[in-house]
Every structure is written in C-alpha cells, then in structure tokens.
C-alpha cells in the first residue's frame, strides 16, 4: 500500500509540474465571465444556466484531464524507458498500475475540488447580489448542497474514464488510446439507446452486437444527475448508491484487465 501511495504521489507531482492544474485558472475565469455575462442577458434564468454550465464544465474539463494524462501514464514510462529502473525496485507490476491510477484519481480530485470551490464562489456571488424577490423564482437555492451529489457522481464517472484510459494505455499508443477513450465516453452516455436499437431491429446479429456492447460499455448515464439537481428534483440515495457501486465494480474490472495485460508485457 505504501508503495502504491508513493507511485501515486509521484504521478500527482508530475501532473502538477506538467501544469495540468493550471487549466483551472482558465476554468474559473471562464465560469465567472460567463456568469457575469449571462446575468445581464437572461433575467431570471441565470442561476440555472450557471449551474448547468458549471457542472457540465467540470465534467468536460475532468474528462480532458482523465484522458490526456491517463493515456500517457503507462505508455510514456515504457516509451521513455523510465520503467526499467522503476520496475527493478521492490514494486510489482500490479502496484505500479494501481499507483498510477491512484495518482491520476488524486490529480482529478484536487482539480475537481478547486473547480467546485470556484463554482460555489460564483454561486455565492450570485446569491449575494440577487434581490430576495427574484430568488423566490429559483427552483433550488443557489448554494444547494445537492449539487455536491452531482459533483460526486461526476467524479465517479471520471474515475471510470480514467480506468478506461489507463487500460488502453497499457497496450496502445496515446493517440489510439485517446480516440478509444473518447469513443467509450460518448458511447457510454448513449448506452441506453443501444437497448432501444436492439428492440427496433430484427437482425439477430445486430441484436447480439448491441447487447454485447450494452453490457460491455460503461453506462455513464447512470452517473448523470446534473439536470435533476439543477431543477431541484430530488436525487434518491439508492440511485446514488447503485451508481457508485456500479462504478466501483466497473473500475475493479478495468483495473484487473489492465494489470493482467501489463503483467504479461515484455519491455523490449
């Protein structure tokens, strides 16, 4: 566990020095600028738009971080041969993979934490500057704690995507890994449509393929409660629990596959 943690901290340090975290400044400025602008343009709707925009931006920025760091995590080590001296140290290949994953999740957590802070700062500013009479029209309070549930599920979703990127990174080039991971992300959001497609077509072959894809691809829609939260609709804890449980199982399967592939690799 100690070794995994040390590898994770090393990944985190690399991310910080690669200046990935600095995209957050951009994010914060974008969010603040957008909210100020929207505040002037859309009377009465600004809170909803800021929440929508903020949560979506967290999801997208997090996706970029997960993919662009995740795809290089293992590949870079092998390509540059830094793995040679590392694996000669008392560390197993399993610990290496888990450490890399934990490091990226740590990077994501810090990124997301800062994004949430910026997001709530903008909401607090809006809350403070909006007259009480206008607030009555809001479907949910500006600083609604339920948004943290949505953020937590965004985080779990990003953890799944990170594991996907890491899995691809163990055997393919960064470009292919990026394409595949984005593909999984997109398809994962529309996996329910695969079910519908299965019912719409008659061909047993297509039915078989779509059913296989439906079970194979992560159902990322399960982690998306942004719309419900923005509109002040309740999010059931059972749904959250099921989504988190599903995410954990899916991540476990992906990491197991990544370790399995990585353990069999020869580093020529």
């Amino acid at each position: 566990m100690r070794v995994v943690w040390r590898v994770a901290v090393s990944v985190f340090r690399e991310s910080v020095r690669d200046k990935v975290l600095y995209n957050l400044v951009f994010f914060a400025i974008l969010l603040i600028a957008a909210s100020a602008l929207i505040g002037q343009l859309s009377a009465g709707q600004e809170l909803k738009i800021i929440k929508d925009l903020g949560l979506a931006a967290m999801s997208i920025f997090g996706l970029f971080i997960a993919v662009f760091i995740g795809i290089g995590l293992v590949f870079k080590e092998v390509e540059r041969r830094s793995i040679y001296s590392l694996l000669a140290k008392p560390i197993t290949r399993t610990q290496f993979i888990l450490g890399k994953y934990a490091g990226l999740v740590l990077t994501l957590a810090v990124n997301l934490g800062i994004m949430v802070a910026a997001f709530y700062a903008v909401l607090a500013w809006l809350d403070a500057t909006t007259p009480a009479v206008l607030k009555r029209a809001w479907e949910a309070p500006a600083l609604d704690p339920a948004m943290l549930t949505a953020v937590a599920l965004v985080f779990v979703q990003l953890m799944v995507i990170t594991a996907v990127a890491l899995l691809f990174s163990t055997f393919s080039s960064p470009l292919l890994s990026a394409a595949l991971t984005f593909g999984v992300f997109l398809a994962g959001h529309f996996s329910a449509d695969l079910r519908d497609l299965e019912q719409a077509v008659q061909s047993p072959v297509i039915t078989g393929v779509t059913r296989a894809l439906y079970y194979l691809l992560p159902n990322l829609a399960a982690f998306d409660v942004k719309a419900r939260v923005v509109h002040g609709d309740p999010v059931l804890w059972t749904d959250v629990g099921l989504a988190v449980g599903y995410g954990v199982l899916y991540i476990g399967a992906l990491l197991t596959a990544a370790v399995w592939i990585f353990s069999r690799r020869d580093f020529k």
């Binding site: 690399e14 000669a88 140290k89």
Partner: protein, 317 residues
C-alpha cells in the same frame, strides 16, 4: 556457497514481422553462474543479447524457457529486488524531477524516508560527482550526468548485487575513470557487480571473470587470467645498439621487427622460438637486451576471434 546470479538455459524469443509471425531468438540457452563478490563482465558486440539477459534478470521481459535466480531466489521477486541495484542502458528518468527528488522517491520505494533517506541520497550524489546541480530538474542534465544519476539510483538501497548495463556509455574519460573507481570500491566492499559492456578495456581493468556472448549464444566464459594466460602467442624482445648486420640476421627469424629509434628495435618472435636462443643471438650480435616479454593474446584478440567464430554460425531459430 550460494551463488549471486545463476541462469539456467535462459532463452528468449521475440516475435517479429508484421503479423509477429517470425520468432527471433535474442538469447539462446544461456547458462552461467556468478559468485558473490565477483566483478563479472558480460561482453559481446551490439545485438549479442546482453541487454536481453539483463532484462530477463530484472523480469522486464519474460523468458521463453529457462529461468534465473539472484541470491538464490527467483529473479523478479520483490524480496530479491530489495537487495539488488540496476542501471539500465542509456537510462532515462522522470525529467520533471531533480536528481535529489528522484533518489528520494526511489529510496521511498525501499521504505526509506525522511532525514535518513535525504542524507543517504546526498552521500550517493556526492559519490557519483553530482554537485549543486542535484537541485536542477533532470531535463537540464547532460547525458553523462544522467548516467551518473543512474549509478546513484542503482545504489540507493545499498545493494548486494549490482547490475550495470553499459555503465560507461555517455561518459567522458574522467567519468569513465570515476565509474571504474566506483566499481572497484564496490568490489572491495564485497558486493557483486555484473556489468555488460562492449568496451573491452573496461572489462580487462575491472573483471575477475567474463562471459562472451555473440548472436545470443554464450561463446566463452571463465576467469580472465585463465582465458588469456595460456594463449602466449610469442615473445617480444626490445634491443638497442642493433647494427645493420645484426638486423639482417634477426629480421628473417622475427615475425615483426619494428624500429623504435636509432639502433633500437622491437622484435616479435613466434612462440616456438626458444627465448634463450633469441637472447643469445641478440647478445652475440653485439646488441644490448632491453626487455623480453611474452606476447599474450589480449582480451580484444580473444573477443574478436570468439565473436567471429560465432558470427559465422547461424543464429538459432
């Protein structure tokens, strides 16, 4: 006595070709054993299988057949890795880290941390000659400096067995001398050093035993003095005051007669010519004997001969 390193029929095939359909034997049934405290030279031309062997010993690649042990345990076990150090060929380290940070990170993987780890790292960097630049990111290092950091990281756990893959590569003459001194001091401390090289002068200066590899096969191995001692190829006499008549008499019998100065010559005679007869002849011709030395086969001669023989043979598979 337990061996430090042992390989048993260690074989590695790589699949090559577009469909990875053709096997290519990088290492063919390598069996060798290295005793504790030895400096063992692993020699061979480029592509002989030296790096493949080291990678097999580090379990960076998996053997096709055969196996290897280090300190009596299977190579690749975490318990073994705690007791060994490894410098890869042309090493690369995380270039966003400083030399200090890299070594502290690696020390941490051995469970060393805090002030003790930092003190050890500082000592190691002193040892390999990295000064104030230890606080610079490795991306700013020259090749030779990275090599020095590589040596330091191979010693971060105070290892019993040290594997060095082409340790002199990228080093200037001063750096090479430093590495030689370092290897000798490791030997004096009783550690086992296994190093691969194609620079034979290094092996001659450092190794007690060597193995020569060519085309993935072991073509010779043994103690350096035993391998070369019995191969006295002739004798060289240096004489001065050699007159033209003496030269005319000695030259036809010598394999080589090289003028070294006015009246001073070096003659090389075949092993079959008795040294006493040569000395007598030189003295009788009125010349003065300066020295008489056996001409031994150098490691380079031996190496070239062995490798040429192996190169003539087809590679396995």
């Amino acid at each position: 006595m337990q061996t430090a390193i042992e390989t048993f029929d260690l074989t590695k095939d790589y699949r090559v070709g577009f469909w990875r359909s053709h096997p290519y034997r990088a290492l063919d049934q390598l069996t060798l054993s290295v005793s504790p405290g030895e400096v063992f030279g692993f020699l061979g031309p480029n592509g002989a299988g030296k790096t493949t062997t080291l990678k097999l010993l580090m379990q960076l690649v998996h053997p096709t057949s055969g196996h290897a042990t280090i300190l009596g345990r299977p190579a690749g076990e975490v318990a073994v890795k705690r007791r060994i150090g490894f410098l890869p060929e042309n090493p690369y380290f995380y270039d966003h880290l400083t030399a200090e940070e890299l070594l502290v990170y690696f020390a941490g993987l051995f469970g060393e941390h805090g002030a003790a780890a930092r003190a050890r790292v500082a000592r190691l960097l002193d040892l390999v000659g990295i000064g104030a630049e230890r606080r610079l990111q490795l991306r700013k290092y020259s090749k030779g400096m990275v090599q020095r950091v590589g040596l330091a990281q191979a010693l971060v756990n105070d290892p019993e067995v040290i594997f060095l893959d082409e340790p002199m590569s990228g080093l200037d003459p001063l750096g090479r001398r430093d590495v030689r001194t370092l290897v000798l001091s490791l030997r004096d401390e009783g550690r086992t050093v296994f190093f691969s090289s194609h620079i034979l002068a290094d092996a001659e200066a450092l190794c007690s035993r060597v193995a020569v590899l060519a085309k993935g096969r072991l073509v010779a191995s043994g103690r350096l003095d035993e391998m070369l001692a019995f191969r006295v190829q002739g004798r060289e006499i240096v004489a001065e005051g050699v007159s033209d008549q003496a030269l005319a008499r000695l030259r036809p019998r010598a394999r080589r007669a090289q003028p070294l100065g006015p009246g001073r010559y070096a003659f090389e005679f075949d092993e079959a010519v008795a040294p006493e007869a040569i000395v007598g002849e030189v003295v009788a011709a009125g010349a003065r004997l300066v020295s008489l030395n056996p001409v031994r086969e150098s490691l380079e001669d031996f190496f070239v001969k062995q490798v040429a023989r192996a190169e003539g043979a087809p590679r396995a598979v």
